[in-house]
């Protein structure tokens, strides 16, 4: 019983995070060229090496073409109309403490249920709040510093911990990686940086809460998490945006590095504005996330609950370099109305006795199109590699679609691979069965969907499992007639 998900009754149908904060912001002119990159770098007071890296990325990006292989459809994006830098106007310099943060910003996060004051409900979670392109506050830093954990905005890390950033930046997702990652490398504005030193188990959950506010602004955060030998950290990411009629681009990059015996758990509850019921507006979420299990016996675990965005394009992946390292991917992706998702993972087995687990749950409702795309690759020297993959799709109604593209490439005869897949539909019979027991059709969908997603929700930290559950209810409301 205790493993059953909680049901949250009485949810309203609207996208609750859709409000706009009226705050003065400072933006770059639209368009992308070397001047813009220099401007961003200057705004961030970056050292020369950082600017050079950005410029290399920009030059490379100009030679690249936007990918078209993914199973999603959208009108061409004009990259010269996007604003690449926007930040809430600072009253003085960077806020040194929460007292200096604009109260309107604090209020925004309070409204979203993310109190930045170091008390209250999320007392056990340290939060880095990123508003538009800029980190506005990072909580619990002193407590973390006591055990040597660095948790700060990316800009700050570039200034304060240049050696660490230089060593690991681009080491998992090089600036040449792909169209969107390269774009990010050129114009990334901020994000979070985490370093957990040798033998330290991070004493609390770390979390970044991303908020897009400005219109016509692209979001390009970069997150880098390094767990040194025997270190452990659990990191969460949440995202929301106001309701706007135009589509907005979000192209983030996340790099994880786990050294010997280190463990990183990365959880995402993605609730970008999905567009309205006619498919107008919404975020294009084109994100590159990759982890490198560099050390022996290291472990990286991705858990994602993707309920928002008009289009989701992301494949949180693991490169299993160290012998006996482990990669995991647990995913729930929901597409309702006209949402499209093309998401999955890549597990690249390089080291010996490496193990990976993939559990993907896709839910499609309305006109939603949900694609699982995954690759499991066993390289020649990866003796004894093992993978287990499970891809399940749940359909609600008859206008939606589920698609599965699993790629498996095995170059070592000792590998063990397992792949299971299923597709099911919530039938009218099932709904009526619930109703005949006193349960409304909407509750019935909630219960079936919760049951379907249970194995993934169990991977989320407790508070976020509850939030994810709520979100799912809201996302699917009205999906049964």
């Amino acid at each position: 019983m205790s493993t059953d998900p909680l049901s949250i009754p009485g949810l309203s149908q609207q996208y609750k995070a859709g409000f706009v904060t009226d705050i003065e912001s400072e933006s770059a002119p639209p368009g992308l060229n070397e001047d813009i990159v220099r401007l961003i770098s200057a705004k961030k007071e970056e050292p020369e090496w950082m600017l050079e890296w950005r410029l290399k990325a920009l030059r490379h990006w100009l030679t690249m073409k936007e990918p078209t292989w993914q199973n999603v459809h959208y009108p061409p994006i004009d990259y010269q109309t996007i604003v690449y830098y926007s930040a809430p106007k600072r009253r003085a310099n960077a806020p040194k403490s929460l007292e200096e943060v604009d109260p309107k910003l604090l209020e925004t996060y309070e409204k979203l249920g993310i109190p930045l004051r170091e008390r209250g409900k999320l007392a056990g979670v340290a939060v880095d709040a990123v508003f538009d392109s800029v980190s506005v506050a990072t909580t619990f830093r002193e407590q973390l510093a006591k055990v040597g954990v660095i948790f700060c905005s990316f800009s700050e890390a570039v200034r304060e911990h240049p050696d660490l950033v230089k060593k690991y930046l681009g080491s998992v997702v090089p600036y040449t990686d792909n169209f969107f990652a390269t774009l990010n490398a050129a114009v990334f504005s901020d994000g979070s940086f985490v370093y957990v030193p040798k033998g330290v188990r991070c004493p609390m959950e770390l979390s970044t809460y991303f908020r897009i506010n400005s219109a016509n602004t692209g979001q390009f955060e970069r997150t880098l998490i390094v767990a040194d030998e025997r270190a452990q950290v659990s990191y969460l990411e949440g995202c929301t945006a106001p309701i706007r009629d135009e589509n907005q681009l979000h192209a983030a990059v996340v790099e994880l590095v786990a050294l010997d015996d280190a463990q990183i758990k990365y959880s995402t509850v993605q609730n970008w504005y999905p567009g309205d019921e006619n498919g107008k507006g919404g975020i294009y979420n084109f994100v590159t996330k990759r982890g490198k299990c560099a050390g022996r016996r290291s472990k990286i675990s991705w858990t994602q609950v993707e309920t928002g965005s008009a289009i989701t394009w992301k494949y949180p992946s693991c490169i299993l370099l160290g012998d006996d390292s482990i990669g995991e991917f647990y995913s729930v992706a929901v597409t309702n109305n006209y949402q499209q998702a093309d998401t999955g993972t890549k597990m690249i087995h390089v080291g010996k006795n490496t193990k990976s687990t993939i559990v993907s749950k896709g839910i499609s409702a309305g006109h939603g199109q949900n694609t699982y795309r995954g690759m499991v690759k066993i390289l020649g020297k990866a003796d004894g590699a093992r993978n287990y993959s499970q891809c399940d799709s749940l359909l609600i109604g008859d206008q939606c679609g589920a698609h599965t593209f699993p790629y498996i490439e095995v170059n070592n005869s000792t590998a063990q691979m397992e792949h299971e897949a299923s597709t099911s539909k919530i039938g009218e019979d099932q709904i009526f069965y619930f109703q005949s027991r006193g349960i409304s059709s909407e509750e019935a969908v909630n219960l079936i969907v919760s049951g379907f997603c249970k194995v993934v929700f169990q991977e989320l930290p407790m508070e976020f499992a509850v939030e994810a559950q709520k979100l799912l209810g809201v996302s699917l409301e009205g999906s049964v007639g």
Binding site: M1, S2, D4, S7, S424, G427, E428, D429, Q430, F432, Y433, F434, Q435, S436, R437, G438, I439, S440, S441, E443, L447, I448, S450, G451, F452, K454
Partner: protein, 258 residues
């Protein structure tokens, strides 16, 4: 005379454009057990589903009063909350949702509707243990996903178990005997009998007389071509067993008594 629990008057219903129920009159008093028999296609199951409010089962004429209220105006879940229970002939499987969790939600929806406090996990567990014993269902089945991978007999037993937990005022059993061997039939019937009560009426829909050896009704009605052709006491079942249904198809419909 106490007020009837259920009053069906001139009920006509169709499914997919075909009229199946063609003028049924039936009155069920509190605590009474009525059996409805009839040949295949006579409209027994349709009647059962119409009462439970299955979408796609369209009532074209007639009225149904439940405790004096218009049953047909209620949504299916409202009917359930008001105490109507349908034990399905073919219970569906609900993967991923455990039986207990499903039932806890159902019971609390019903309790909430009636202004009663919701049961917490501990109280509910206690209740399910009690009821599982009462209807002799394996506690392992109770914990498994609803009906998933259950045998035919286990599914039927699970329906009766749900009925025991939800304690309806009107239980409609749709061909609960179908697909059961004699041992399973006995066990399911004894579960049903354990739930007979002065404040619980039952409508037992069956094709075969043998179920009525175990669940002995107060009244029996024979449905032929969408109408009640004959009503009587339990002894009518034996006559039907002997003579079959064909002789009734020629006689004019007699009004229901009871």
């Amino acid at each position: 005379m106490t007020a009837p629990l259920l009053e069906i008057r001139g009920l006509h219903a169709r499914v997919g454009g075909n009229e199946i129920v063609k003028g049924v009159d039936l009155t069920v008093g509190p605590g009474e057990v009525h059996a409805i028999m009839g040949p295949n296609g006579s409209g027994k199951s349709t009647l059962a589903h119409v009462l439970a409010g299955r979408p796609g089962y369209e009532v074209t004429r007639g009225t149904v009063l439940y405790r004096g209220r218009d049953l047909l105006a209620m949504k299916p879940e409202e009917r359930a909350r008001e105490g109507v229970f349908l034990a399905f002939q073919y219970p569906v499987e609900i993967p991923g949702v455990s039986n207990v969790y499903f039932l806890k939600n159902a019971l609390n929806a019903i309790r909430k509707h009636r202004g009663l406090p919701e049961l917490d996990a501990m109280d509910f567990l206690q209740l399910t243990r009690e009821k599982a014993r009462l209807v002799q269902i394996d506690e392992d089945l109770v914990k498994r996903p609803v009906n998933e991978g259950f045998s035919g007999g286990e599914k039927k037993r699970n329906e009766i178990f749900q009925m025991a937990v939800l304690e309806p005022s009107l239980a409609i059993l749709d061909e609960t005997d179908s697909g059961l061997d004699i041992d399973a039939l006995r066990s399911v019937a004894s579960g049903v009998n354990a739930l007979r009560a002065a404040d619980r009426s039952m409508l037992v829909v069956t094709h075969y007389q043998r179920l009525l050896n175990y669940i002995v009704p107060d009244f029996l009605h024979v449905l032929v071509d969408g109408q009640i052709a004959l009503s009587g006491g339990k002894e009518l079942a034996l006559e039907l067993e002997e003579r079959g249904y064909t002789w009734l198809e020629k006689e004019p419909a007699a009004p229901a008594r009871a």
